[in-house]
Amino acid sequence: MAKVALSSIAKSFGATKVLDGIDLDIADGEFLTLVGPSGCGKSTLIRIIAGLEHQDAGSLAIGGSRVDHLRPHERRVAMVFQSYALYPHMSVGANIALPLTMARLRLWQRLPLLRLLSAERRAVMRGIESDVAAVAAQLQLGHLLDRKPAQLSGGQRQRVALGRAMVRNPDVFLMDEPLSNLDAKLRVHMRTELAELHKRLGTTFIYVTHDQVEAMTMSDRVAMMDSGAILQLGTPSQLYEKPASLKVAQFIGSPAINLLPATVAEGGRVELFGRPLALSVPLEPGQAVTLGLRSEALSLVQGEPGGGRAWFSARLRRKENLGSEYVLHFDLAGRDATGVTMRATPAVAAGVNEAAEVTLGFEEAAAHVFAAAGDRVEPRGQGAATASVVPLRAGA
């Protein structure tokens, strides 16, 4: 168990800058997820922590001591690869045992023929076997130890890869997109298993994924990366509720956040489609801003919109049935915006007809404002952000 400290890590491949001065402190026993679109540098970062790549600049400490000069296995980290990287010619048992045989037997004791001369080898091998059995039992792999990786299902291979990582009692677990090769159902299941494993082991986990759902559901903290830099570091709810930039807001959350073009009017008041909102920002008038609205922040407005603010009209394009709820896709009538999505209960969804024009309302307090450069702008404190619309009730 150890904390991990990265300071000003930089890395380029040729002329391409992959990591641009990453600073990150990961607490002992924390589950930290690096999330971001492909090519953002998250995999390179985890490979630098593992020692598979070397940073061009900056330093890395695990458990308080510098590890920059250490080879991967000397860093006391274990890694689970996206492809699992199981040794295809070895049985499951031998795969899990490999880190231990490497650590506990000397080179000549591992060589063919020569190893027969070693008297203590048998005792060491017995120790290894019992350790492997203990790990296999934890992962319900006990009955599969003699199989080859090719004879296993994806989920079983995943668990073997985990077992090979666990058997060494590493200080840090590194996982590089470990669930992306699994089918959707198994992925959801393994998410729970990984989170429980983390709780049980209490070890530091560093997890790389491009899937924001994995990041949101498992992590203590999430570091959202893009173009070699960390855009925001925080708990999953911080990233969801207070995205620091447009990119974070767009990446986190499903369905994706609705973005509407707005402008700043006199006094910093934000205007949406020409109507002023009960929302003012410390920006110069005339600037263009982007209004971010989560799909659950929208609701249907019945009858005439009250107060003349925080509403806009839209036309239903498609209903997406998710069983417990619907996602309604709207076109914005006559606006050059891409359209919005809204979560609705089945009863509410039943009340909306295709191609019918409806009024969508929202509370200004739930809106995120982003400046033209993409940074979050905090609205000025004000009491006027009261509920301005009455959501349509079921059966109304």
Binding site: A50, P72, H73, M79, R110, K148
Partner: protein, 307 residues
């Protein structure tokens, strides 16, 4: 559904007709390949087998059926026995040299990044050259008085060695030339095998503490090269067993029969002495060896190879 119902109460005429059309179509597709196989391999083999039971001589007007006499004669013939021993000896030198040498070179070349293609070309050159042309170069290189090899030996204070005219060194010298020619091709095969090993595995091994060169080779490279090694071993063995051209050009079986090999004897019997029937029988013995080699290796190695 319809098919299941139809088969329960005897196939309906339409279904039966479709089945027949499918069969005919299938046969039609297989036919060209089969005809080719028949004309180019099976038929000549049958003729060869038939000839081996006769005393046919090339150009002769009649022949007699002699049964197994040719085979009996071949097995008792001291020249054939010696050529068989020589061939096996040659195989025994060329196979380990050609396979292990190529593996070593492939592993070394594989690590090079920028110069890899240069090395590939250099080692592959002997494969592309004609062995007959190269044989004259070798003959010059190894010449007792004119060749540079003996020049170097003399400079080192070692007496001149008549590599190709000394019975004790002639076969070994041919074997070295054989290895030289096979090395490049085998290296390319091994390189392909090495490239197919996922990099992830080496990285996982690095993290698992398996990072020394010997460990990496024994844990990952060697086992995962299993299928490639099997293929290289079989093809090298067969190629080595077919040794003919260097013998024909450089030594003609000499000195004192020390480089007489099986195929060279087939050639002598068939094309110099025109004992076509006898040559056919020798060819059959040769083919039997090749068949046994490939069968034994395929079955023996199949069990140790993964996937």
């Amino acid at each position: 559904m319809t098919l299941a119902l139809a088969s329960a109460s005897g196939p309906a005429p339409a279904a039966r007709r479709r089945l027949r059309i499918e069969r005919v179509t299938g046969l039609g597709f297989a036919l060209p390949a089969f005809v080719l196989l028949l004309l180019t391999i099976l038929l000549p083999l049958a003729v060869l087998l038939w000839l081996s039971f006769t005393n046919y001589e090339f150009g002769g007007v009649d022949m007699d059926w002699v049964g197994l006499a040719n085979f009996r004669k071949a097995l008792a013939d001291p020249i054939i026995r010696r050529s068989l021993v020589n061939t096996l000896l040659y195989v025994a030198i060329v196979v380990p040299g050609g396979v292990l040498g190529a593996l070593l070179i492939a592993v070394l070349v594989h690590r090079r990044k920028r110069t890899r293609s240069v090395y590939e070309v250099i080692y592959f050159l002997p494969v592309t050259s004609t062995l007959i042309a190269m044989a004259t170069v070798w003959q010059f290189l190894l010449h007792p008085s004119l060749g540079p090899v003996n020049g170097v030996l003399k400079w080192l204070g070692l007496g001149p060695v008549a590599f190709l005219s000394e019975p004790s060194t002639a076969l070994a010298t041919l074997a070295v030339i054989g290895i030289w020619q096979l090395l490049g091709f085998n290296m390319i095969l091994f390189l392909a095998g090495l490239t197919a090993i996922p990099r992830d595995l080496y990285e996982a091994a690095d993290i698992d503490g398996c990072s020394g060169g010997i460990d990496r080779f024994l844990t990952i490279t060697w086992p995962l090269l299993g299928p490639t090694t099997m293929f290289v071993l079989v093809t090298t063995m067969i190629t080595a067993f077919k040794i003919f051209d260097t013998v024909a050009v450089m030594t003609r079986g000499g000195p004192v029969g020390s480089t007489e090999v099986l195929l060279y004897n087939v050639y002598l019997e068939g094309f110099q002495y025109f004992h076509t029937g006898y040559a056919a029988a020798l060819t059959f013995i040769f083919l039997a060896f090749i068949l046994v080699f490939s069968a034994v290796q395929t079955f023996a190695l199949d069990k140790k190879v993964h996937y």
